[in-house]
Amino acid sequence: MSHSAPGLNYLNHAKGFKSWALSLDHKRIGVMYMVAVSLAFLAGGILALLVRLELLGPGETIMGPDAYNQSFTLHAVLMIFAFIIPAIPAVMGNFVLPIQVGAKDVAFPRLNLASFYIYLIGAAIAMTALVNGRIDGGWTFYAPYSTSIGNGILWVTSGVFVMGFSSILTGLNFIVTVHKMRAPGLTWNRLPLFIWSIYATSIVQVLATPVIGITVLLLFLEKALSIGIFDPALGGDPVLFQHFFWFYSHPAVYIMILPAFGVISDLMGTFSRHQVSGYKFVALSSVAIAFLGFLVWGHHMFVSGQSAVSSIVFSLITYLIGIPTGVKVINWVQTMYKGSVQLKSPMLYAIMFLFTFSIGGFTGIMLGVLAIDVHLHDTYFVVAHFHYVMMGGNVIAALGGLHYWWPKFFGKMYNETLAKIAAILVFTGFNVTFFPQFILGAQGMPRRYYDYLPQYEGLHALSTYGSWILAAGLFLIAGYLIASFFTGKKAGLNPWGALTLEWTHTTTPPDHHNFHDTPVVTRGAYDYHLAGHLFQNGGEVTELDLGGDGAGAAPEVAPLSHEPAH
């Protein structure tokens, strides 16, 4: 039996392309996802910058209408299916979740690797639409427009279908891991909130994604064989397509945001060094949101021709979602109350998140009000709403998580000053880009418009300038993170003084098998008051916490202390 030699970790215990490409190690898979997902974000982001540049003034600025329509479509397809859905679960979930539950890997490592390749194949198929014929009309693919355009739609729907499988398999893997592989002592009430939220996300992934599967399959057949289910010219019903589409895509927005909630909970706890207020409420509200999320899809269709009765019911349930979400927001704020708040860069993102996500959420409620949505539907108000929740919610949280776990991932610290500057650039740029869009929308500026009336020019131009500030911030982040590999200080075991297992029970970067001995958990993820002994020497914890609950108990060793040699 071999404990890894000192200095060996998951990054350097084996070398070469194959040791990565065929790795079954959840941490390596997480890192590979990180590379892929960042590339998707970069590509989607560049398209967004082009879209904004075109909108700098009315009329043609840099491209014609067809190029514009394809740009925003591909922007959205990449951002939604290739970036934001896998972003937190597949990168941070993969890396952190097994360690946080005290397991040596996910329940099905092979399936995990397969999910990664399925994702890559799906993304590649979707991207071929670039050369395989035009694909415009937005990420919603509404029939019959989508079946009237070139064959690009066949490729994109196949790509989405394949990426959906990846999402299902990842979710399935995580659910089983959380249920079956928790370390001794890690009861549901002690789970980090990040796990709770990934768990709720996984449930939505498993339940909702098959429906988008069958939907895009039907759309594919509609285009390929004219089966006449959605195309009115053949006797089909286009509104039915919208029901199918949103039945997945609304729950999908919670696939995007729930993991972000998890990250924020962990950040709030760690950087306030305080129990997350209302732990049970925060944990269970994730599940409540996941559940309610299935019942509101019709709020995208208030003016589509669905029956008024359905609109009313959907509107009512839509507001109800605000309540569990509000419970979270309030509890995050309360966590800081009488805490010990440290404003490191990850915490800056958490605080930023409270600001931007709340704006996104409240405007979501406005859109849920039937009479108001009639005016605001398909205007820039909606565009601003969903960028506030997706970019201002999910992406900001993902950036917070990235900064938080970066030292654990790679064992290097990035430059904290640059990180703070970048955070401020991102915050300013983001708000300057998207806040004016609320006003544009309320003034009546429709979305998916290549050209617009001169009266909207000022706000559009402002929004475009904002996108440059935002881009500057994001490129700066990419820059110093990459630089940290070469010039970064070596990261300590637990630089933030966190209490979850990835910080307290494994090395930095983690050992190939995560733990030498299966940890035994004796306190909740945020029970700082039981862990005072860890902080005797200051904020940074430099020793593994093998001492149990801090009452001086002897190190407990789980029955299984063996691992196969390699």
Binding site: M1, A103, K104, D105, A107, F108, P109, L111, I168, L172, N173, I175, V176, T177, H179, K180, M181, V206, L207, A208, T209, P210, V211, G213, I214, T215, L217, L218, L221, E222, L225, S226, I227, G228, I229, L234, G235, G236, D237, L240, F244, H513, T518, P559, L560, H562, E563, P564, A565
Partner: protein, 224 residues
């Protein structure tokens, strides 16, 4: 048989603490997968229900175009195969490898029979122009019946839904055959025992689901 490093049986992967944990995990994973399958089909069932409620006459009229005798035969074939899978699992639980093999082969054969019958059904439809969607063009007379009478509004939709549902189901049968072929090979190599038969159990669960979905498809499409 034991893994020298973990003191666990060889089939237990190093990241599991015990054989039970591994078995439980696999089984839960399979159940979740089946849930996704049900949701996939439920999308189709919703489409079916909606179109049926909009055009009940068309649906009632066109279900007569489907041969309930062949469909019934297939129902029996699938039920039989579900039974043989269950028997196979029962055999291996008692350590009877030969019993497992026989039942696996039988299941495989039944699944094949199902597809052969399906093939005849499909070709009989195609012959008379009963295609999905735009290609729908019923014509020809057989046994004194004029297929052109099937040319009713929303007929194409009926056949679209019929072919998509049975097509996806048929694809699942095909995947099932692949699964059973693979498991048969493993069984031949003696991989399974009374202690370890997780793949057989999971393939069996999958197969029961394929069977159950057919039990719903058959009356909905052929009978009513």
């Amino acid at each position: 048989m034991a893994n020298p490093h973990t003191n666990q049986p060889a089939h237990v992967k190093h990241y599991f603490v015990s054989s039970e944990q591994q078995f439980d995990a696999a089984k839960m994973g399979m159940w979740l997968f089946l849930v996704t399958e049900i949701l996939l089909f439920s999308g189709m069932f919703v489409a079916y229900t909606i179109y049926r409620s909009w055009h009940p006459e068309t649906w009632a009229a066109l279900s007569t175009a489907l041969d309930w005798k062949l469909g019934g035969l297939n129902t029996i074939v699938l039920l039989a195969s579900s039974f043989t899978v269950a028997m196979g699992i029962n055999q291996i639980q008692r350590g009877n490898q030969k019993g497992l093999l026989i039942n696996l082969v039988l299941t495989f054969v039944f699944a094949g029979m199902f597809l052969v019958v399906k093939y005849f059904e499909y070709s009989a439809k195609f012959e008379h122009g009963l295609f999905p969607g735009a290609a729908f063009d019923p014509h020809g007379v057989s046994h004194g019946f004029d297929y052109a009478t099937y040319n009713v509004p929303y007929g194409p939709q009926f056949f679209s839904i019929y072919f998509v549902m049975t097509g996806i189901h048929g694809f699942h049968v095909l995947v099932g055959m692949g699964l059973f072929a693979w498991i048969t090979v493993k069984a031949l190599k003696g991989r399974f025992s009374a202690e370890y038969y997780t793949p057989v159990e999971n393939a069996g669960l999958y197969w029961h689901l394929v069977d159950i979905i057919w039990i719903f498809l058959f009356p909905l499409l052929y009978l009513i």
